[in-house]
Symmetry: C2
Subunit: 237 residues, 2 copies
DNA sequence: TTTAAAATTTAAGCTAACTTAAATTATATT
DNA sequence: AATATAATTTAAGTTAGCTTAAATTTTAAA
């Protein structure tokens, strides 16, 4: 009865968690397999094994569902991943596209002890450089629960702040950087062209015409920073 | 033809390197096995495999000898290990006995890219907190070549500085800390009692009577810090 | 409702990294 | 030099985590 958890298992659980919490995606073995770069057969096999370990529920041909134990593990890995990303960006100055690659490895070899030192050192951050929320040590997200939505669904005329950038490659982050599309940037929706799946926005006095391929990767919230500012003023008159 | 290097391989090569550079130790499979906590059979098996990959030379019943490629790999792992130890101690404040455990894992999952960022951040240190030398990116040690020797072989009456503490557990480092036996501490040999394997030393005005079990783990050099100071003064008049 | 396409599962097999047990070789002692 | 002891190697077997290929089931289309 080997109770040690492997890299393959951690990545599998993490992927099931992430797919399960993404809109328009499913957690069937094939989807997990594609995500991890393994075959469907391997994913099915792993699903049976993890089911036997009570880390997920598996019924043939159905979607995979994490047990609470499995979810706790997934959140543990995600916590380590995002803390490392935050660290690598803030302390070593790695760029947005570099941090993921390194964190993808480090997340599996960081003890809980070290993880808490890391979190402490960083001042217990609640989001990573991509704007992804960081669960606390017990797996709870403590992010102000402002409503978020993809920029592709934002309303014409409204103002938002960028809360997450969900792309992954260098080109994506270079483009965002170049055009001031950063976490916490303020963005105003000028025009929407639903038929052409385009959105015209204003960022730092500049107008951009963005395709849904991009706007669907950018999460925004309805001016949470101004709300925050408002709250602070009230508490601290 | 899988050219990727595994954790097992890295640990094996590192162990062969370390044993080969320790006095009174050998690099036969059994010794490596004991060090790694695996069976002799597993070590022999690994020796054959690594020999096939040209990472070491293996002749039945003889000691293992790293090839230059194998040694380069071992030094790469050692570099990562010691840089992480330095980092964990200096930046996260982990104690002497905690850093090794964490570094033992991290050393295998740190890209060369990240390693150089780590080294840069630390100011390219040449020794870790235990006083162990850190090879540079091409596997070369750049430590002033002052002669070192175990405290157990130091000369009565002479003064030395501590250059390495080679123990590993909490008790060991707690004892050293408590008695000012730290890297760079100045130490004077008052008396040697070879028959009883004891050495009486003076550290910070305090006298200590130490058994060879301890003195053989402490490496000293003949006042390298004063020599260094001397050299600096000459160069910078 | 039947059928074709797509996805999933099962079956069989591989490799790395171990294990235990038996056989072999080296080494140390008389 | 013979022999007992210790170390090493070989042999056989296990497990995790994959693979490819075949069989099965689901789903979508006709
Ligand atoms: Mn990973
Ligand atoms: Mn992230
Ligand atoms: Mn290691
Ligand atoms: Mn060290």
């Amino acid at each position: 009865m080997d109770n040690l958890i492997s890299v393959a298992t951690e990545n599998f659980l993490k992927t099931v968690y992430t797919l399960g919490n993404s809109i328009g995606k499913n957690t069937r073995p094939g989807t997990v397999a594609r995500e991890l770069g393994i075959t469907n057969a391997a994913a099915t096999d792993m699903a049976r094994k993890l089911s036997a370990k009570n880390l997920l529920d598996y019924t043939k041909y159905r979607e995979l569902k994490l047990t609470s134990e499995g979810e706790k593990m997934a959140l543990g890995v995600i916590r380590k991943h995002r803390l490392w990303e935050t660290f690598l960006h803030r302390v070593f100055g790695l760029s947005m596209h570099e941090i993921h690659r390194e964190a993808e490895q480090l997340e599996h070899f960081t003890s809980d002890f070290l993880t808490e030192r890391l979190s402490l050192f960083l001042g217990h951050p609640t989001t990573d450089p991509h704007g992804d929320p960081i669960p606390d040590a017990s797996g709870v997200f403590n992010n102000g629960n402002t409503e978020v939505l993809p920029l592709s669904q934002a309303t014409e005329g409204e103002k938002y702040t960028v809360s997450r950038l969900q792309g992954s490659d260098k080109e994506y982050f270079d483009f965002c950087q170049q055009n001031d599309l950063k976490v916490n940037s303020v963005i105003r929706i000028i025009n929407r062209y639903p038929n052409n799946r385009m959105t015209e926005v204003e960022v730092k006095k500049r107008k951009l015409l963005l395709h849904e391929d991009l706007t669907s990767t950018i999460t925004v919230s309805k001016m949470p920073s101004s709300l925050e500012f408002h709250n602070r003023k009230r508490q601290n008159p």
